[in-house]
C-alpha cells in the first residue's frame, strides 16, 4: 500500500460514526497542519504514469508487422494506397543491394548485380527461404503462401524491380505486395 493510501485509511478509520461532513473536514484540516512538513516527493504515481506510457509505446511499436527505417539508401515512394500490410517474406531493394529477410544477397553497382551469380542469387535465396517455410509448415507451422513484401527505394530503375520480381516468381512467390509510404497525392 502506498504511503498516501495508508494515511487516507487512517483518517477514514478514526472517523467516528455520525460525524457531519463539516466536522470531518475541520478535523482533516487540523490533521494536515500537524504533519505539514513535506517529508519527500511521492514518486509512485509518476512511476505508474511512466509505466503506462512505456507499455503503450511498446504495443504501438509491435503493431506494425514490418518496420523499416528511412535512410539515404532505402526510401520507399509515397502512395495513396490504404491497404494494410500483410506480413510475408521481405524483399528489400535499396540503392546498393538486394536483401531477402534482411540478409544481403546481391550488391548492386549502377543497377547491375556485381556477383558471379547475377540475379540468380536472389532466386536461390528465395528458394532456400521457401524450403524453410515449407519445412516449418510440414511440422505444424504456418503454410507457405507465396507472399512476398517488396520494399524498394523510390529511385530504383524498373529493370531492377522487374528482374527481382521475376526471380521471386520463379521460386513460387506469386503474391507480390509493394510496400509503400503512406501519404501520397492522387
Amino acid at each position: 500500500m502506498t504511503p498516501s493510501a495508508t494515511h487516507s485509511s487512517e483518517i477514514h478509520d478514526s472517523t467516528p460514526s455520525g460525524e457531519s461532513d463539516d466536522e470531518m473536514m475541520m478535523r482533516r484540516r487540523k490533521h494536515a497542519k500537524v504533519g505539514s512538513a513535506v517529508e519527500g516527493l511521492n514518486l509512485t504515481a509518476m512511476m505508474d504514469i511512466f509505466t503506462i506510457i512505456l507499455v503503450f509505446l511498446i504495443k504501438q511499436y509491435e503493431a506494425a508487422p514490418q518496420n523499416i527505417t528511412l535512410s539515404e539508401d532505402l526510401s520507399p515512394p509515397l502512395s495513396t494506397t490504404t491497404a494494410e500490410m500483410v506480413p510475408g517474406v521481405s524483399l528489400i531493394i535499396s540503392k546498393t543491394s538486394v536483401m531477402v529477410d534482411n540478409k544481403r544477397i546481391v550488391v548492386l553497382a549502377d543497377g547491375k548485380p556485381t556477383g558471379t551469380e547475377g540475379w540468380g542469387a536472389v532466386g536461390k535465396a528465395l528458394g532456400a527461404r521457401r524450403e524453410t517455410i515449407k519445412y516449418i509448415g510440414d511440422h505444424g507451422g504456418s503454410q507457405f503462401d507465396g507472399n512476398v513484401m517488396v520494399i524498394a527505394d523510390e529511385k530504383t530503375p524498373y529493370d531492377v524491380v522487374s528482374n527481382v520480381l521475376y526471380q521471386a516468381g520463379k521460386e513460387q512467390f506469386t503474391t507480390y505486395r509493394l510496400i509503400l509510404r503512406a501519404g501520397g497525392t492522387e
Binding site: E39, M47, L57, L78, E154
Partner: protein, 154 residues
Amino acid sequence: MAGGGGGTEELNLVPYLDIMVNLIMFMVVVTAYLVQLKEAPIIAPTYGGAGGGGEQAPFITVAIATTEINLLAGGAGAMGAEPLPKCVMKGPCTALTKRLRELRTAIPDVSENLVVTADKTVPYWEIVKVMDAARSDKQGPLFPAITLATSLSQ
C-alpha cells in the same frame, strides 16, 4: 517506513524512474524515425504477352517511356490519342486519371486489370504514381488490379 526505529527502509524509486524516463525517450525517438507503411498488391510480371494469358476482356496497357506515357490497347496498338505527359514526383497525375476514366466510360467491358510497363531506366516512383492515378478517381474505382509487365527495352 523511515523513522520506524531500524525497521524496513522505504524503497528508493529514483533509479527505476531514471530507467523508465530513458526507455520512454528511446521509444519516442525510434518511433519518430519509423514510417507508416501501406501495401499495394500487384499481379506477377509476365514475359511475352502481358495481361494474364487467356483473359477475354479487352485490357489497357500503360507504357511509361523515358519522356512520355502511352496508352495501348491489348498491349498492341496505340489508342489513337497523343501521348500523355509524365507524372511529377510531388503532385497528382491528373491527365492520366482523366484519360483512363474516359477509356473506362468508352469501353464498358474493359478489364479491371491494368497492365503497366515501363522503360528499364524509369524510376520506381513513377510506376507507383501511375498505379495511384489508375486506382480510382472522384467518381469511383478505375483499375484496382495492376499487372506489372517486363520493361520495354528488356
